[in-house]
Symmetry: C2
Subunit: 219 residues, 2 copies
């Protein structure tokens, strides 16, 4: 019984890693679609999100199934409950990537990235991709140093998020309302993507160290 349970936990972990890998591909493509106005890559992201959604639903069903059959307690129970929450955050990360891709698609053949903010969004995108890759690694290895790195990169994204508003509300901003709207939404999506990664990283850190962090301490 115990072995079956361990096998099932390993299956849950494998599936979380697989979803995280898809999310990393999604954000990498979304960032490229957004920064380079590549509408066919944007459409790939939108299709990929359907797959991410299906996989998270299937994972949730597996987790509920494990709860029903194995009736885990204590730490084992928290592992399964955490998996449900991690799955939900990964699903939202996929949604953020999709939203970024949709901005690229809506504005095509124009560029979605507002002038004057290209390097800022290039950097935010690079950090989001980096975070997604580290998150996959973290889920795979449970190496908590990666959780720390993800938090540091999230701090950088938060600074860039603030800098977008400084720019848009500054005296030199010549953008039309469309550029202002796009900058606002794109920046928020990039920032939320990283927030969800931090939220997952904290849960993995808990699983590795036993220190439980309430959901609401998350950004």
């Amino acid at each position: 019984m115990r072995d079956v349970f361990q096998q099932e936990l390993a299956e849950v972990q494998e599936r979380l890693i697989a979803i995280s890998e898809l999310v990393a591909i999604s954000i990498e493509n979304a960032v490229r679609a957004f920064n380079e106005s590549d509408v066919s890559v944007a459409e790939e992201v939108i299709e990929n999100d359907v797959r991410i959604d299906e996989l998270t639903v299937a994972l949730d069903e597996l987790a509920i199934n494990i709860l029903a059959r194995q009736q885990p307690v204590a730490r084992d129970l928290r592992i399964v409950v955490s998996a449900l929450r991690i799955s939900s955050s990964l699903e939202r990360m996929g949604d953020m990537a999709e939203h970024i891709a949709q901005l690229a698609r809506y504005r095509f053949p124009e560029r979605a990235v507002p002038k004057g903010l290209r390097s800022t969004f290039a950097e935010m995108g690079r950090l989001d991709v980096e975070i997604a890759k580290k998150l996959t690694q973290l889920l795979r290895t449970q190496d908590v140093r990666l959780a720390e790195e993800i938090r540091n990169e999230d701090d950088k994204i938060d600074e860039l998020h603030v800098s977008v508003f400084d720019k848009v509300l500054g005296e030199t901003w010549k953008g039309k309302p469309l550029a202002t709207v796009d900058a606002t939404l794109a920046s928020r999506y990039h920032e939320r993507f990283a927030d969800h990664a931090v939220s997952i990283a904290k849960k993995v850190q808990y699983l590795a160290t036993g220190e439980w962090i309430p959901e609401t301490d998350l950004p």
Copy 2:
């Protein structure tokens, strides 16, 4: 044992109702703070959110505790898992109310509501408050007609959300970048608030009817 479990489920339901009531107070105050630039009401909302966060953490602990001690299966298990998800959505609704209140506070003594959009935001706010109250009723009575009403009101909010962008991107828009940013963020927060309510309503509907709706079918 069975009776204890039923009592504990009743306790979970009572707590969800209590949190939902606080969320309804938060959104009502947030909408008032935002529309009337009332900074002291905005601060109440921000304080109230700390309480909402505490209560959702406590509820999550209770739910995990019930899973560990009662080891529910089948429908009972799904009730407890749904409670965890409902709690998470209520927590996010509280966050959206807080974000709306913060816009009011940041812009004070200026008005956060952009000119030309006062009636739109008044209507979005009215609908969000209506939805929050119906959600509390739904959690209390499990009357699924309320779920339907919440979905209809969410549709109206979605239309208003689109109309905000039509306005901001239209030729008559004279707003400065700050007004454009505020309109974009405020509209998104109002819309997300309602989305989370629809997500909860679907779960309650499932609990009442037995028809399970995957998380990702949600808006």
